[in-house]
């Protein structure tokens, strides 16, 4: 082993015993540091993941949704409109949708009820309604065609329903259980759960309930010649707004909503939440700066004395700085990894309880709102450069000043 490595080992050993010597102080320091990293990492993970979730939702949302409007309020959509839309050039496909919100007074939550586009129940269905031709090499395009939720083999038949995870948790029901609904005519409909949905995004499927066309109409009291709205697929994505304009022109009481508008709505929701996160984030950064500054502003008398002794017995200034570097690096790295791991568990497994107050306005359906883990190297690197690097530097700076003190100071030390 080369002397250099052996020397580093000695210095590291000494640093560790130095840290253990001031156990209480260093554990306090480590705890505070870990806490700050934890908050920073949690906000980062959270905002990033929620943006990712939003992107997934948008990928699955239709290019154009057409509603019928009566004096500004949206109304049931007559199926007879479909043919007139279909005849517009540039349109690839038109499908009708049946969906609505149902308020469950028992748990005080709103569910989204949806009748899947093709609910014959004989084929594996998907909630994805736009059919796009994809290039198999294009990962993004593939992701776009991936269904938003999967039935897990459940069969949707009249009298049954398939529920999202949030509903399942909230009502504490699963496959085989019955769920009562109050229908439009005042009758109670008891539907049997035939399965639960799985999804790449909890946000999409959590509050979702799938039921058959027939049951939906009965529950909401919708006549067969009406649907909720229609979704339109265009041949050329560049023509979306032009096609929307044509629909509007042809059906004066229709309101085509294009994906970009939905995007804007989501964006404002996520940005608001992201904004709150930025506030928390900045507060944590500020705390860190104060904390690092406090470290940088000086060494305790005991530390100075020790450095004096080390220099007197033959340590070079650079040796002392190396020791302090290891000290800073060890504390930083420990705090960094602990903080990041805790934040990961916090955000992706525990449902961000620390951010609960900010999140719970979201929906009562997300009692343990579990985000899908999305992490990239960039985030971790940013966090690393925001914490470990400045802290380690802050540890070295005052040492450098102290280390330039003449070693003969040790000769003039009078006892303690």
């Amino acid at each position: 082993m080369t002397p250099w490595i052996e020397k580093q080992r000695y210095i590291i050993d000494f640093t560790i015993s130095s840290l253990l010597r001031r156990k209480v102080k260093n554990i306090g320091l480590l705890t505070l540091y870990t806490l700050i990293v934890f908050i920073l990492a949690s906000t980062m993970f959270f905002t990033h993941s929620i943006k990712k979730e939003a992107a997934i939702i948008l990928q699955g949302s239709p290019e154009i949704v057409v509603q019928k409007i009566i004096a500004g309020r949206h109304d049931l959509f007559p199926i007879s409109y479909i043919d007139s839309i279909k005849s517009i050039r540039g349109i690839a496909n038109v499908e009708t949708r049946l969906w609505g919100y149902y308020y469950d007074s028992l748990v005080g939550a709103n569910y989204t009820l949806l009748s899947p586009p093709d609910n014959s129940g004989t084929t594996q269905l998907s909630g994805k309604t736009t059919a796009v031709e994809t290039d198999p090499d294009d990962a993004e395009a593939l992701a776009a065609t991936k269904p938003l939720f999967e039935y897990n083999g459940a069969l949707l038949e009249p009298g049954t329903l398939i529920i999202g995870n949030g509903v399942s948790r909230m009502r504490n029901i699963s496959k085989g259980d019955y769920m009562p609904f109050m229908a439009a005519d005042g009758q109670i409909m008891n539907l049997k759960v035939s399965g639960t949905l799985s999804s790449s995004s909890e946000l999409v499927s959590s509050d979702l309930i799938l039921i058959t066309d027939e049951d939906f109409r009965k529950l909401f009291g919708i006549a067969p010649q009406f649907v909720t709205d229609a979704i339109v697929t265009v041949k050329n994505p560049n023509e979306v707004s032009m096609v929307a304009g044509k629909i509007k022109k042809r059906l004066l009481d229709s309101r085509p909503i294009i994906r970009d508008e939905i995007l804007r709505t989501y964006d404002s929701i996520f940005n608001w939440r992201g904004g709150m996160m930025i506030v928390i984030f900045s507060a944590a950064v500020l705390a860190f700066v104060i904390f690092a500054w406090d470290k940088a502003s000086g060494l305790s008398a005991g530390e100075r004395r020790e450095i004096g002794i080390l220099k007197a017995v033959g340590w070079e200034t650079s040796d002392v700085i190396q020791m302090k570097f290891w000290e800073g690096a060890m504390i930083s790295l420990t705090a960094f990894f602990t903080g990041v791991i805790l934040a990961y568990i916090h955000v992706f497994f525990a449902g961000s309880p620390v951010f609960e107050p900010a999140l719970k306005g979201w929906s009562s359906l997300y009692p343990n709102f579990a985000l899908t883990p999305f992490i990239n190297a960039e985030q971790i690197t940013t966090l690393f450069f925001l914490t470990v690097v400045p802290y380690t530097v802050a540890t070295i700076v005052p040492t450098w000043r102290a280390a330039t003190i003449d070693p003969d100071s040790a000769m003039r030390q009078t006892g303690e």
Binding site: P3, L310, M411, R412
Partner: protein, 224 residues
């Protein structure tokens, strides 16, 4: 051999508190001899010792170590000389608290990066030589005053220095321990080491093994 030519040391130069601690000191310290620097408090003994031991630089004048001028060397070289040539025994033991006696003793050797097993053996041998074997793994705050001082002696010797510098080594020791210290000094001399001690303790400067006594007063060497 150490040679001091016209060495001056001025503290706080240019300030109202300017103080001249050493005024034109000329001194030769012979090899393998015991030299005692003696003088009243404030006469500049510690200041002189720290210059000889490459701990601080003179404001003027030159210091030569075995014929080599060392005054103008950069810090790194001074540290290197200090580490390999000098062993320091301070007035206070100056041990680092919270770590074991063994670690304290090994501390000066860390920057040299020598083999661990070898270094540990050297340290344990050194401790055994001063009857401290049983204390190797103790914390330093548990040591008695005399033990602490002996530990600091072992630490001074860990890099096998050729010159040993001791500042008022007996100031905190009782008569019996002071004699014990002088026995250790005798052993150093027998091993061929050069010893420089400051003291105003007659037990030290009147001792038979002392070869040379230098009297300092107000930063100057007094002729006998």
């Amino acid at each position: 051999m150490i040679e001091l030519v016209n060495v001056k040391k001025v503290f706080n130069a240019g300030n109202p508190s300017e103080f001249s601690a050493l005024n034109s000191v000329n001194l030769e310290i012979a090899q393998n001899k015991v030299t005692v620097l003696k003088g009243p408090s404030g006469s500049g003994k510690t200041t002189l010792l720290s210059i000889v031991g490459c701990m601080s630089r003179p404001s003027a004048g030159r210091v030569k170590l075995n014929g080599r001028e060392i005054t103008s060397l950069p810090e790194r070289f001074l540290t290197d000389i200090r580490r390999t040539t000098f062993g320091f025994i301070f007035q206070q033991p100056n041990l680092i608290k919270g770590i074991s006696v063994l670690e304290n003793v090994m501390l000066p050797a860390y920057p040299l990066g020598e083999k661990r097993a070898h270094l540990k053996m050297k340290a344990l041998n050194g401790l055994a030589g001063l009857n401290l074997s049983s204390k190797a793994s103790s914390q330093v705050e548990w040591l008695s005053g005399g033990e602490a001082q002996r530990v600091s002696i072992v630490r001074a010797l860990i890099n096998d220095p050729s010159i040993i510098i001791a500042d008022e080594p007996t100031a905190h020791l009782d008569t019996k321990l002071s004699y014990r210290f002088m026995e250790i000094v005798e052993k150093f001399k027998a091993e061929g080491k050069t010893v420089i001690i400051t003291s105003h303790d007659p037990l030290v400067y009147d001792s038979a093994m002392v070869d040379h006594v230098v009297n300092l007063r107000d930063g100057k060497i007094e002729d006998e």
